[in-house]
Symmetry: C4
């Protein structure tokens, strides 16, 4: 199988809502929920993708770099690339029956681990999903990051215990899921939380704790103050609130504010190794990729994941070679250009 | 009935000129008069809508707000939302025979009152419309704001007396109707008026007097000087003069100039609770919504109005929850982002 | 006949190259020469039109103006509007056989004079056109402005004598025709000219001399120094050089440089009375309109011209009413807004 | 034959990948490789073309220039125009079998020499192409610039010897080909190179040495320091790295940095004489044109090349005439306008 075959398979398997577009840019699916679209006007997703188009790479081949190294050490482990698979949930509803949340997460966790990176996995109203995913992570030696929704504090801490038992590398919480009224309707309310509550949650575990869903400098400061190991700038793919800015546009100022206190990652609109390069140049330590991994799993299961990761690696290495970056630390702001 | 059914009904009932577009943005109907379009190129309407697209919401769920309160006190009353239905006239001509101006206004006044907000109602060449509407407002305990055209001063004051007799909460005048040559052709000329004349008109009543159709800082100052209880930034939906700027773009500087002397409201392009949020963040105390209420009435009469108001409320509360605003006073400039 | 009928007639009569578009904006005909298009990419024409879209009108109806007066005194005469018909040549080639250059110019001169404005008329390789047009102007008491191409100086002065004999109000020269290689190919070369030569040409007549085709501050200064009664900012409708800026964009700086030495007029993209208003607000004393008068003549001959002039007048007066301008002198920069 | 016939012939001959678009702007062929497209999103090619659209020409015909002279002296020779044909390789693969690399380069070298300019020629994995092209250049008295890929230093110097033997006017190297992984796959790896290596290469010959593929100020400084006779700002038509900026946008700052040490040329998006004019106004001494010469050769062989060069000359002279530039030195920044 090659990556083009993964894409062709995905078109057959992924269900009617996702068109597996040549560029996964949020336009064909705007407002398509159930489905992969952004909420309402869909502009939060579209902006994420478009924001990357505002930057170009400063090509320069007069240098001595010949074999760039895109490896990164995070959470005490060495990864092949500064890229993680993002959590995606309710895949049966949004895509097709070929996978359910457990089989999807398991394929993603396994595939990412084999490919040298790590998957974040999701959470749901039914406890089986979180627990089953934890089993899959445990089976991979803990190579996975379970992501908990902002339930009541006690529920969150219960789930942290499950993640610890799986020996997960880290634990995440997507705090921007606080607006998902559908969860309350199913008897499992979520809500915003105070810095104090977040601090207690983070203090309840020795695992690195990652706060996903930061979109302002203020929220970044609160998460850093609460002790987050890392924060992820994310607008949840434009799916929890319409008309948010893009994530990339928030990156520089958030890094300026908290970059020396916590690790800043970026989620939203990353599709290629060139996008990874741009996010790092603007200050992110690593990025998350969501929708393209759905294509990879539906189109090629574990092998699809590997093929996509390999493609990202090849693209990132090419970008580093063509700009003279030997390591990720060389990917600095002067390597890109605001257009 | 739900709101989607209201929309479906409206498509059947509303006549050939309005397409009940997914986004009511002035494009499909540009220049369509009779009909809902903006005049000439239609750009005044289109710009109103587009201006809102220039702002994003600063999502932040690290806070303690769980049940935002969007209520507002104005004209001595408490309203569910900082939203009013705007006056719309000649509905038979612009939409369809299902309603005439009196039945439309009556449905709107009743529906808004039930839903916890208030409707502005219109005026016309024939005196029956204004008088009939006043009766409808009286029947709702005065919950309505009759809007008088800029006729000769004596005629205006006569109509003020009718509105007072109906015990209307407030009285408005849409001064930007001064350019409607069609009224002169029907024997009832309108015209611009001096600050002095406006002052005399306002002084003739104890009711709060609202001046609608302000588009410049200078006009705002004149209206404030004349004693206006509130002003409404409005370009009449782009229907009295082609090629005006959008209303939203004028908001900040007008608030800066007269915000401490009079209440500043915004009309034009408001479609969702997120738009309400943005207008308030930019300094408006409240907003008016026009065309979507035509859809609501033609698609569901009083119930349609309630369903649309409920949707606006849900959207506004969600926006407040996802940005950490407990009350309308918390919706400040830092809660949105110029994109 | 009304103006809509003029437009309908024009669609039948005007030939295959002009589509009589709802907005005459240079897009459908870009590069269509023979025909009305801009040269090459056609962008010079398109930009002229688009430049007007960058400005809005500052509506304000709190004032005492009720009957605006758009009259202007120029060349010692009082005109109904600050609008002139621009010279258009080779109408048989670019449009259709319904008119030739002489019958077109005659209709335009007569129609404009009746309507209270004045037409500029064109020049050509064959001397009959210029001479015949001069006769038509003479028959209208001199109400016309013959426009001479930048031939050799002696030829220009010969044509000035013809124009003087016709008692023309003024004489113009379109110096930007210097690039029309087709004229040299027909044995009548044109060329750029020095300030000194221009000075001699202007000094050769007592008539007001108008230099058309200015696109830079430097050229404006040279024309003013040479004694031009007025200059016309024009890129020849984008037909002599591809990829020029729009004329409107050059207006402010040219007025700032020479506005106290000579009269500055603007040609290019003016379609409505609102466009006239914008050009005046940006500093022009008057404007020229070209292509819409072709529609007017082909669709309604002299009556078509009158109907179009009346429409421009109504639009300009409405714009003045809705912004509080009693006379043209009130149309100042603060009456419009850069969008 | 005229140029329009060349274009018509090219449409028949050029193969399925190139559409011979009215404007060769990279849109129809984006990502089409094999074919003429930019790599990946194709935006590097598209941006090159679009960047020229951001500038207008400052038309001014009040001056004394009547016969502009666009000649230039470079590499010790006088050329008709400041335009060179750029190297294009693998024409069989990207276009059609009508030509192979040797017959294409030979036609281009001969056609350009006859037309008064010079062609750059390409390199390939097989040594026959470079050697055969060198023969063609020798047959034209050295009027050609062989362009060597960034192979290992020893291989480069071997090819320099071949070029010297052909008495080539100058020798070039396209250093941005360093990312072409396909060459390594064929056993002939290319790579970035240090300033030191470049210096040794340049020092190995007495011929003027031109470094093509500069996209940053830093790279320009390194090339100048290494002794380059000239540098060519180029992103390889967007074909070696996706998402680079346009070349034109880099021009001013590179000229400011190294313009007094080396000759700066520009490649990318130049299609017409007006584009040549703009590039010179922004500081380039000369430009390269690539894809339009493919059309010229496939559509008319040597005669096609001549016709295209003649058209460029006519356009450039017209632009000079209409802006008052007697020689290339007069084409200064004030002759264009940023739009």
């Amino acid at each position: 199988m090659n990556y083009q075959e993964v894409v062709q398979n995905a078109k057959k398997n992924i269900g009617p809502n996702c068109k597996v577009c040549p560029s996964c840019n949020g336009i064909a699916c705007k407002g398509v929920i159930p489905g992969p679209g952004g909420k309402g006007s869909g502009i939060g997703f579209i902006r994420n993708y478009q924001a990357f188009r505002n930057y170009g790479l400063n090509m320069d081949t007069l240098h001595e770099v010949k074999t760039p190294n895109p490896q990164i050490e995070l959470m005490g482990k060495l990864f092949k690339l500064p890229v993680f698979a993002a959590p995606v949930g309710a895949v049966q509803m949004h895509y097709s029956d070929l996978y359910d949340d457990l089989s999807y997460s398991t394929a993603l966790v396994d595939g990412c681990h084999s490919a040298g990176i790590v998957a974040f996995t999701g959470d749901g109203v039914k406890s089986e999903v979180f627990e089953g995913t934890a089993d899959a992570i445990k089976a991979q030696g803990g190579f996975g990051v379970p992501t908990i929704k902002p339930w009541r504090k006690e529920e969150i801490i219960e789930k942290i215990r499950i993640a610890e038992a799986a020996n997960a590398l880290a634990i995440a919480m997507d705090i921007d899921a606080a607006g998902l009224a559908i969860l309350a309707a199913q008897g499992k309310p979520v809500s915003p939380m105070s810095t104090e509550t977040l601090k207690e949650i983070i203090a309840s575990t020795d695992k690195p704790f990652i706060v996903k869903g930061i979109m302002t400098v203020n929220a970044a400061k609160k998460a850093a103050e609460a002790g987050a190991y890392a924060i992820i700038i994310s607008n949840h793919g434009g799916r929890v609130l319409d008309e948010t800015p893009s994530t990339l546009e928030m990156l520089s100022e958030i890094v300026a504010a908290v970059g020396n206190q916590t690790i800043v990652m970026l989620d939203g609109g990353v599709r290629t190794g060139l996008d990874v390069f741009k996010a790092l140049a603007l200050g992110a330590k690593a990025v998350l990729v969501a929708r393209p991994f759905v294509t990879a799993v539906y189109g090629g299961d574990r092998e699809g994941v590997s093929l996509y990761v390999n493609q990202l690696e090849a693209e990132l290495k090419e970008a580093m070679l063509m700009t003279g970056c030997a390591t990720l630390a060389d990917i600095t702001l002067d390597k890109i250009r605001k257009l």
